[in-house]
């Protein structure tokens, strides 16, 4: 290729062999020279570009700014793009816009024997890279969505397994309400003198209705299908809220739940997902003690490990885990239960990892085992 009738020299050969686009402009922004990569990238012939303002390669929004940038640099030497790379949009001859990376160098006047200082721009087409990034993001979002859906299904299934306990927990306040109401009727029928005598019973009726309502709200929150939202949560409150649900199952199987909570601290997590993990671990612990004769206790602990990490652990005195199986418990479809898909701990692991934590299993010195997982604490928590 020839420019201004000049011989096709090594310098030109180097420019044209470059994969990235190279464009030389003068102080005012007029294009002095382009390489072949530029003509391929933008769809112009070299002759169509030389002499034109560089703005021809920019979409309207960016080109409006360009004169300002150039003017400022020429006046003050202040750099916006020069010496640094930046991502912009380019505009092809057919007006189609595409993402580019531009880095601009400045060539001093004295180097060019009085031809005036100029700028050299190296332009890389980012179309493919952006496309790949978008694809990867889309895939990641899909995986995330699947993970959330799976977690939701697991939550619903956990609640399903707890249905007897849940029914019990709603039935208790209903039984109390019925008894109070019937007692009030009896007292009225027996010729109650002062209606105010019924007030304590009536306030109990409403307290019990609220209690049943709370169970239902808890279940509804827990069964919600929501996107992962990590926000600062009080770690102990989070554990306490889910222990209320776990109590349902515990009571049914005669297991007591003991809380050993550290001083309040804040973790940066998705509350529902962490509660799901805690509930799952407690339920497993409860079920592991099904055959135990006595001392059916599950201990749930929270503690700070260091300035950035907290730990929640669930410790049982149940049947424990076989050493040989210890590494497999987090695998999908691994189960020692007669019923159960073997997805519980695998889901727990993915949920903990989604919070930026890690889960592990350790055997207790005496009986049973402990599952513990770490969570990131919120800054300043």
């Amino acid at each position: 290729m020839k420019l201004d009738g000049a011989p096709y020299d090594l310098f030109s050969a180097v420019l044209d062999a470059a994969v990235d686009g190279i464009v030389v402009i003068d102080k005012q922004g007029a294009i002095q020279r382009v390489n072949q990569a530029i003509t391929r990238m933008f769809g112009y012939e070299s002759e169509e570009l030389v002499g034109k303002n560089i703005k021809i390669l920019m979409p309207g929004t960016d080109s409006d700014q360009h004169d300002n940038h150039l003017g400022r640099f020429n006046k003050t030497g202040m750099r916006k793009v020069i010496g640094i790379g930046r991502e912009l949009n380019g505009q092809k001859k057919d007006k189609h816009c595409f993402p580019i990376h531009v880095s601009v160098g400045h060539i001093e006047d004295d180097l060019l024997a009085g031809n005036g200082s100029c700028f050299i721009g190296i332009i890389r087409d980012l179309t493919l890279q952006k496309h790949n990034e978008q694809q990867a993001q889309k895939k990641e979002a899909e995986i995330q969505q699947l993970r959330e859906r799976l977690a939701h299904v697991a939550r619903i299934s956990t609640l399903g397994e707890m249905v007897t306990g849940i029914a019990h927990e709603i039935n208790q306040p209903l039984a109390a309400i019925t008894s109070y109401a019937q007692g009030c009727s009896r007292m009225i029928n027996a010729g109650l003198k002062d209606p105010a005598d019924l007030l304590p019973a009536l306030s109990e009726v409403s307290a019990q209705a609220e209690r049943a309502g709370k169970v239902i709200i808890g279940i509804r929150n827990f069964s919600k299908n929501s996107q992962l939202i990590r926000q600062p949560c009080d770690c102990n409150e989070l554990v306490k809220d889910v222990v209320v649900l776990a109590e349902l199952h515990a009571r049914e199987l005669g297991v007591s739940l003991v809380l050993e909570l550290a001083d309040d601290f804040v973790v940066m997590v998705d509350a529902i997902q962490v509660q799901q993990v805690v509930l799952n671990l407690i339920n497993n612990a409860i079920e592991s003690m099904f055959d135990a004769a006595s001392d059916k206790v599950v201990i749930i602990k929270t503690r700070r490990l260091d300035s950035t990490t907290a730990e929640v652990s669930v410790c049982d005195s149940g049947a424990g885990v076989d050493v040989k199986l210890q590494d497999q418990v987090f695998d999908s479809f691994f189960t020692t239960k007669d019923s159960g898909l073997g997805m519980g701990l695998s889901i727990c692991q993915s949920l903990v990892e989604a919070q930026g934590g890690q889960i592990r299993l350790s055997r207790n010195p005496g009986r049973g085992c402990t599952f513990s997982f770490t969570l990131p604490t919120a800054a300043g928590g």
Binding site: T164, A167, H168, N171, Q172, P173, L174, A175, A176, I177, T178, S179, Y180, Q182, G183, C184, R186, M187, A190, A201, E204, A207, Q208, R211, A250, R251, E252, G254, V255, S256
Partner: protein, 202 residues
């Protein structure tokens, strides 16, 4: 006496259900006390208090069934009415097989509970009255001498004074004296009364 003031013992681990039952008992003008666990009740248990027990069947620690077992081992005859949740029907059936008075599913109808309690108290009252009668007869029997026992057994077997005298190789007059002592100590005036009395401890 205390027979007229039976006690309803309520055992439930759920505070609200327990309080509600106490309130209901009060509205029924029944004398009631409540315990939060079977263990707590067993530690304060006295057999000579008449009445009945209304207990939850599913409780942490000692369950309703275990309570029933332990009470029976301690020789208690106090009737137990179990209140159960939805899923506990097989447990309730087992309790009934082992002699529980009745079972009600929560939430229950107050009239049904009252009927159960009244019938349980009535049974307990009857059982205690019978027990007391037996005790009193046994204590009267304990005052008899060995000879008087022999005479009593033969009288009860329908033998005449004459036959008894011959069998024991004693005089007719002596037997008559023994026999009148027996009647006196057993606090009866006719042979029929004596036989009815003895039937109670047979």
């Amino acid at each position: 006496m205390f027979d007229d003031n039976p006690l309803v013992v309520i055992i439930d681990d759920d505070d609200s259900v327990r309080e509600a039952l106490l309130f209901l008992m009060k509205s029924m003008e029944l004398h009631a006390v409540a315990f939060s666990s079977a263990r707590e009740y067993l530690s304060k248990y006295e057999n000579d208090v008449p009445g009945c027990i209304v207990s939850d069947i599913r409780m942490p620690g000692t369950s309703g069934l275990a309570l029933q077992q332990e009470l029976s081992e301690r020789g208690s005859t106090t009737p137990i009415i179990f209140i159960t949740g939805h899923g506990d029907i097989p447990m309730a059936v087992e309790a009934i097989k082992k002699g529980a008075e009745d079972f009600l599913t929560k939430p229950f109808c107050d009239q049904k509970l009252l009927d159960c309690i009244n019938s349980a108290i009535e049974k307990d009252r009857y059982r205690r009255r019978e027990q007391k009668k037996i005790q009193s007869i046994n204590s009267r029997l304990a005052t008899l001498t060995r000879r008087e026992h022999q005479v009593l057994e033969m009288v009860a077997a329908g033998k005449s004074n004459k036959a008894i005298a011959a069998a024991l190789n004693l005089s007719h007059r002596t037997i008559e004296v023994h026999r009148s002592h027996v009647m006196e100590k057993m606090k009866v005036s006719t042979l029929t009364d004596l036989l009815v009395l003895l039937q109670g401890v047979a």
